[in-house]
């Protein structure tokens, strides 16, 4: 299923719901406005802390070196940006971008608390219309953000435009479990335990139901790989993690 299919009749997916394309960004914003304050806590609870390991491997794959410019799209609460800040060093730059002001605000506060703001810029931006010059970024990461973007193909093209030749894109996102048994367990967990946890901690079961639904509507490993290639990236590949529950896709700008 491609993002273009989503856009027929000017409607798109919002979880299992069909909404007008122009409405999706606003609906996604409402979800993240609601969960922003407890986002990291919920991530830890929902994934059993595994999201830290998935992000750790993504950072390793980025191979960021001192002096490089890194853009973390949908960077939310800034956990990746803090790590990149250290890798890029004082001569490098990290840009924390998110479409959601509430998430960025939490992220900026966290980075200030960690003392990691020296080489970090915070930018509110839509992944489909990235406000950066062509060929200006060494590495782009988008962790658990692409599935919330209205037009994924447009976002990938926008990322391709601003990357320097040889620069790399890393997309960390929920994907399709490789084992049918794991898939069943995962489904039961996502649609029962996840909204219950959301209700308990943020008093908002609907937002977490949306998160589970949006994961199911997101392209699987091979479809996303094709989308990354279609956006113009070369040497594309992906690594499954935790039995395919999550996958990290990598593409290089040729």
């Amino acid at each position: 299923m491609s993002s273009q299919d989503n856009l027929t009749d000017d409607t798109t997916d919002f979880g299992f719901e069909r909404v007008k394309t122009a409405e999706k960004a606003g609906r996604v914003r409402e979800v993240f406005d609601s969960v922003a304050a407890q986002y990291d806590l919920m991530n830890d609870l929902m994934s059993g802390g595994l999201h830290r390991l998935w992000k750790r491997f993504t950072i390793e794959l980025s191979a960021v070196r001192p002096g490089q410019t890194v853009l973390d799209i949908a960077g939310g609460t800034g956990d990746l940006a803090a790590k990149f800040s250290k890798l890029a060093g004082p001569d490098g730059k990290v840009i924390l971008a998110d479409i959601n002001a509430a998430m960025l605000s939490v992220g900026r506060d966290r980075l200030i608390d960690k003392g990691a703001l020296g080489n970090i810029d915070v930018v509110q931006a839509d992944a489909q219309f990235l406000p950066f010059a062509d060929d200006s970024i060494d590495c782009i990461t988008i962790a658990f953000g692409l599935r919330n973007v209205t037009d994924k193909a447009k976002a990938l093209q926008s990322m391709h435009r601003i990357l320097k030749p040889g620069g790399r894109l890393l997309v960390l996102e929920f994907s399709k479990p490789t084992s049918p048994l794991l898939s069943k367990i995962y489904d039961a967990y996502s649609f029962s335990a996840l909204p219950a946890m959301g209700k308990l901690i943020t008093d908002d079961a609907d937002s977490y139901r949306y998160l589970a639904e949006s994961i199911r509507k997101h392209p699987d490993q091979e479809s996303l790989l094709e989308m990354v290639e279609d956006a113009g990236f070369v040497d594309c590949r992906y690594h499954n993690m935790t039995g395919g529950i999550v996958a990290v896709h990598r593409g290089i700008k040729g």
Partner: protein, 215 residues
């Protein structure tokens, strides 16, 4: 078989945290490690097939990772059994060099790192005091220190006494000097036998040639 990167990331994260904690509690170690800044070590286990990279950053922290694109300063590879035998050897540096583990690249930083780690002098009092407070924490740390010291000296004494009992009191095994002398005598006898054998062969040859002349 490809390993799940998340599993390797979890293991490296736990080891990295343990190393960082030990280094933080050992005064001076971090400064020594800073001299090895940018040293990149590849540890490649061939059975099972896992590669882990260790890099020392500018703060002297050891960072472990599952993926690296730059060429390592030094690469060591072997099976898990070989790595285990190095880790449990009395002299790991000698075991590393003389064992079956393959080393390529610059070995000097590796030996320096091994020396820094073997000199690690962890001050366990700090975390205990953090939890129990300075008065009780110090007393507990003193007790642990005394117990550790007693256990070390008891271990040394036991080792010596058992050796003495086996050799001298129980006469269960001959002393090393006696064994050396016995082996030397066996070697000497072997040489003499070889010489006697070749002498007999020579004499036989001579006799047969003399018998041929007389006929």
């Amino acid at each position: 078989m490809e390993h799940d990167p998340a599993v390797i990331a979890g293991v490296t994260l736990a080891i990295e945290a343990a190393i960082a904690r030990a280094i933080a509690l050992s005064p001076g170690t971090q400064k020594q490690l800073q001299t090895l800044h940018s040293v990149d070590i590849e540890i490649q286990c061939t059975q099972p097939s896992i590669a882990v990279f260790a890099i020392i950053d500018q703060d002297g922290a050891i960072q472990l990772s599952n993926y690296r694109e730059t060429k390592p300063t030094v690469s060591i590879s072997g099976t898990w059994r070989e790595f285990l035998s190095v880790a449990s050897a009395a002299d790991p540096a000698a075991a590393l060099i003389n064992g079956d583990i393959k080393i390529s690249g610059d070995t000097a930083p590796l030996l320096r790192l091994q020396s820094i780690i073997s000199d690690l002098d962890v001050d366990w009092e700090e975390p205990i005091v953090d939890v129990m407070g300075p008065v009780v924490g110090h007393q507990v740390a003193e007790v642990i220190r005394t117990l550790t010291s007693v256990s070390r000296s008891t271990h040394r004494r036991m080792k010596r006494q058992v050796s003495e009992f086996i050799l001298e009191e129980g006469r269960l095994s001959p002393p090393k000097a006696e064994l050396d002398s016995f082996f030397s005598a066996v070697d000497d006898l072997l040489l003499r036998t070889d010489r006697a054998e070749s002498r007999v062969k020579r004499l036989k040859k001579r006799l047969s040639s003399l018998a041929g002349v007389n006929e």
